[in-house]
Chain length 443, copies 2
């Protein structure tokens, strides 16, 4: 039992040879109606492509012909008929209809053009995301995003990682920052979690050994840039008995695998976006922080002293330097000053000013941060306090370090930035269905 006119095929699935004289039903949106008087073409669009419906006035029932001519663009129809080869039509076939059922008529005028002929502003597109998604380019991005996350899970699961889930409602700020959204949790104040960091570390003490989480993170930062979001999707791993080099290797191999899988499984989407993707070569180049600032100081207008953070200009300068040297967009900056990394980054034993931390960079922006973590309770507590934080608020976390915490390392990578850099998308909002930023809370 199904809808009265159940779909038999997506438009891309109609195979003339296989189907023969059997009836097909395609369902979708009226993309275009071309009424040439004696002949009328209706193009029906679904997620997978388009089908041409051909109605020759002399050969077809008058009622159907007249109805077809009057179809309103973007209405929902179910078309049943016989498919015939037609080289000039999309997918090489046309349908001679027996019936065209209008399942939901669209109003007009439409709030946005969907043919791709007119380029709408980002805000217009986001306001009418339901229309924007009808453009092939937009759908392609979200098909690829699906494939990226599928490939990530596949890679990590095969490598023995267990998918876990940390709470989004928390009592304490992860890194003590001020950029938290407060919640009224019954009669208490709570916050939206900025990162699964503390929880995934607790799981190392629990013995889960290798875990990953893919979920929302929330940052109440006020920037309004093309590469920040206030709600984003973070891909996080944490692994016991591995150091920062081990997890960098996991990261670069994962990124390469994701590119491979997208190339293999999303060829049509890449074509729709007019992108030729190539798999990043592993291992990624490792640039120690000290060397990175030398590059910045030599090759840009900016000066960074040892201990300073790297801004946008610095990142671009290093990115271009690496690209010239290797021809690759991805690289690591390693061995950051301990003071500018979070409290949980492990300092080197022989030089505690430097930490076993890294950022994984794309030529155009930072993608990921990671480190070997401090697994020793007293050192960790001291580091929390030395950053001016009250260690009492971290009691639920510190306790896990007292009774058997293995050495461990991990990283987090932003899903949106991974997709954005892969596809050369200009604005990060284009990689999220319903983005949230300083100004946007709807749809």
């Amino acid at each position: 039992m199904s809808l009265e006119t159940p779909r038999t095929h997506y438009t891309s699935q109609v195979d003339i040879e296989q189907i023969g004289d059997d009836k097909v039903t395609v369902c979708g949106w009226v993309h275009e109606v071309r009424d040439l008087g004696g002949i009328c073409f209706v193009v029906v669009r679904d997620r997978e492509g388009r089908a041409q419906i051909t109605l020759v006035k002399k050969k077809i029932d008058k009622e159907i012909f007249d109805a077809a001519r009057k179809l309103v663009r973007e209405s929902i129809v179910a078309v049943t008929g016989t498919a015939k080869a037609e080289g000039k039509a999309p997918n090489g076939y046309e349908i001679i209809p027996e019936s065209i059922v209008v399942l939901n008529e669209a109003e007009s005028p439409l709030p946005m053009d969907t043919t791709g002929k007119v380029d709408a502003e980002l805000d217009t597109r986001l306001d009418s995301r339901f229309m924007d998604l009808r453009r092939e380019r937009t759908t392609a991005i979200f098909k690829i995003r699906h494939e990226v996350l599928r490939a990530v899970r596949d890679f990590l699961t095969k490598d023995g990682f267990i998918e876990t889930c940390s709470p989004k409602v928390v009592a304490t700020a992860t890194e003590g920052g001020t950029s938290l959204f407060p919640i009224t949790y019954f009669d208490r104040e709570a916050f939206l979690n900025q990162s699964p960091q503390l929880f995934k570390q607790i799981l190392m003490s629990g013995g889960l050994d290798k875990v990953f989480e893919i979920g929302p993170i929330f940052r109440a930062e006020e920037h309004d840039t093309r590469r920040h979001l206030n709600e984003a999707t973070s891909i996080d791993i944490e692994a016991s008995f591995l150091d920062h080099f081990d997890v960098m290797e996991i990261l670069e191999n994962m990124v390469a695998y994701v590119y491979e899988q997208v190339i293999e499984n999303e060829a049509a989407s890449l074509k729709a976006l007019d992108i030729e993707l190539s798999v990043p070569k592993t291992p990624f180049m490792k640039v120690p922080y000290g060397q990175a600032i030398d590059i910045v100081n030599a090759e840009s207008e900016e000066t960074v002293e040892w201990g300073g953070d790297l801004g946008t200009v610095a990142e671009h300068t290093i990115g271009e330097h690496v690209f010239k040297e290797t021809g690759e967009s991805h690289y690591f900056i390693t061995d950051w000053p301990t003071e500018i990394k979070p409290f949980y980054a492990m300092p080197y034993e022989d030089n505690p000013l430097i930490s076993k931390s890294f950022d994984m960079m794309h030529r155009t922006m930072e993608l990921s941060s990671g480190a070997q973590r401090i697994h020793l309770h007293d050192m960790l507590k001291a580091r929390i306090e030395s950053q001016g934080l009250n260690s009492d608020g971290f009691d639920f976390y510190l306790r896990a370090f007292k009774y058997g915490m293995p050495p461990h390392s991990g990283w987090g990578i932003g899903c949106e930035r991974l997709v954005m850099t892969m596809l050369g998308v200009e604005n990060i909002r284009d990689t999220v269905l319903f983005p949230r930023d300083r100004k946007r809370l709807s749809p």
Copy 2:
């Protein structure tokens, strides 16, 4: 480059024949030290099992022997040595150590027993989740949870569904309920989303055709029961051009597939939990609401009039009835009164008092709700208003129905309840690493 003593094998991976005289290194927790004077056994535990380290006083370096005897339980060690067959030891081998490196010594006394010999209260276990996870039974639940979600994604992806992500921070209540957590979103009030419902429907208008989302949902309900959470993981689908019967079929087949996959891939975890799982038979029995209340009225002390909701007693009565009749735990209750279902449930054309809605039940509790949705703008707007809601707040949603919304259907199923009923877990908090309820906000 790695930690000084990198792990070569999980304890379950040591295969004597394959390894021969090669050195092995296992890393983990000191589970037990049995000092018999002339011989000392140390049991090391990792995620995958246990290994026996055997130290014979006369045959081994005095320093190692003395250090082994003094190992503190639950400390982290890396043991390197030679593996030999030993039928009485876990996994059939013992390790004769060359070195035992203590990577992080545990404090004592421990906050909780991890041997499984003493049964701790749920609250104690949740307070010290990092200790609780060291019990084989607890880890088994979370390995199975991972496999459940892996199998769900696998099933839906193979069926052409695209994984999508809706915002958790929203401006409007999904179903107009009062059970929302308010957030301060910069200078505005916002809410944590109760359900991806409205967003996944908008995606149908966008043409994504078949989507699923697995993510957190937040409900500010005050109940304190063993089967409610304030933050839970919901598995949601929405599909165009399908009716409620079609998506019930997807749901029952998905549940059966998940059981199959858990049986196939998590045999060791099921064994640890002492569970023999069998795959539910499909199709699940369908009990129309009218018949369901007849069963309740005939077979329980309770009376439900037509139009009334089904409480716990009613659910149990129907569950037992179905189980007696079919020997199966899963079934559907279909054709609910329109008035007690959310505004988006589609009424039957020939009897609008009844809706094309369903709940999927386990003998012990409700698992899932779904329906064919209203896809017609005017009907939907009228239904929103007839439920006393202000349709202005739904403008971002209603707009998507004006310009080409296909007929569509979908459902949501709680991940935790799926795991809970599968494993016969008594309290839903046992299926969440860090549960959130009325009283619990930490760890």
